[in-house]
Amino acid sequence: MMPYLAYFGQFLILFGSVFLFLGALGIFRMPDFYNRLQAGTKASTLGVMSLILGVGFVEPEWLVKSIILVVFIGIASPLSSHALGRSAYKNNIKPFMKTKMDAYEEVSQILPEEEEKV
């Protein structure tokens, strides 16, 4: 039983690090802010969750704490992505190129351009 769990854990670690890599690659390559947000944070989150869970499987004594960590990241990471996306939008960082649709425009209170350059 033990070695199989460890092998599964190692698989998860490998899987996770690949996605961490992909996430970073997305951050690096994507053309605009929202795409980076999309590509980067998600893959990274999946990656880190997988990796940490993997570590928990490799060292079963650590599993509980790994799960705590995973749960935390599972809640926190999308929250931060959301907060970043919202603030970027409010800060006038417009979606890249040919945006056809902006349902948020009418309800959001976009901050005015800085009137005073200090």
């Binding site: 970073a24 690096f28 944070t41 940490i52 935390f72 990241i73 603030s87 409010k90």
Partner: protein, 85 residues
């Protein structure tokens, strides 16, 4: 060293570098923060892996704290960008 860990470490290292490049490049503050967010997640992963590699449970605690602080840091910057601070 286990080949899995080696590959993982290399991948994580490359991920760090890529994130760092974006951090430097920007162009907007929001972009940098996204890069920072990704990097902090990657560091959390790296710390957990290090705990495994050095076989020290206590490093997981470090990872946990790092994750919390990184998260709140990003939230703060996000709110700052909204000029809510």
């Amino acid at each position: 060293m286990n080949i899995v860990y080696l590959i993982s470490i290399i991948l994580i290292g490359i991920a760090m570098i890529l994130g760092f490049l974006r951090l430097i490049k920007g162009p907007t503050l929001a972009d940098r923060v996204v890069a920072l967010d990704t990097m902090s997640i990657t560091v959390t992963a790296g710390l957990t892996l290090a705990a495994l590699y050095f076989h020290r449970y206590i490093y997981v605690d470090v990872a946990l704290v790092y994750a919390v602080l990184g998260f709140i840091g990003v939230i703060v910057v996000a709110r700052y960008l909204e000029k809510a601070l």
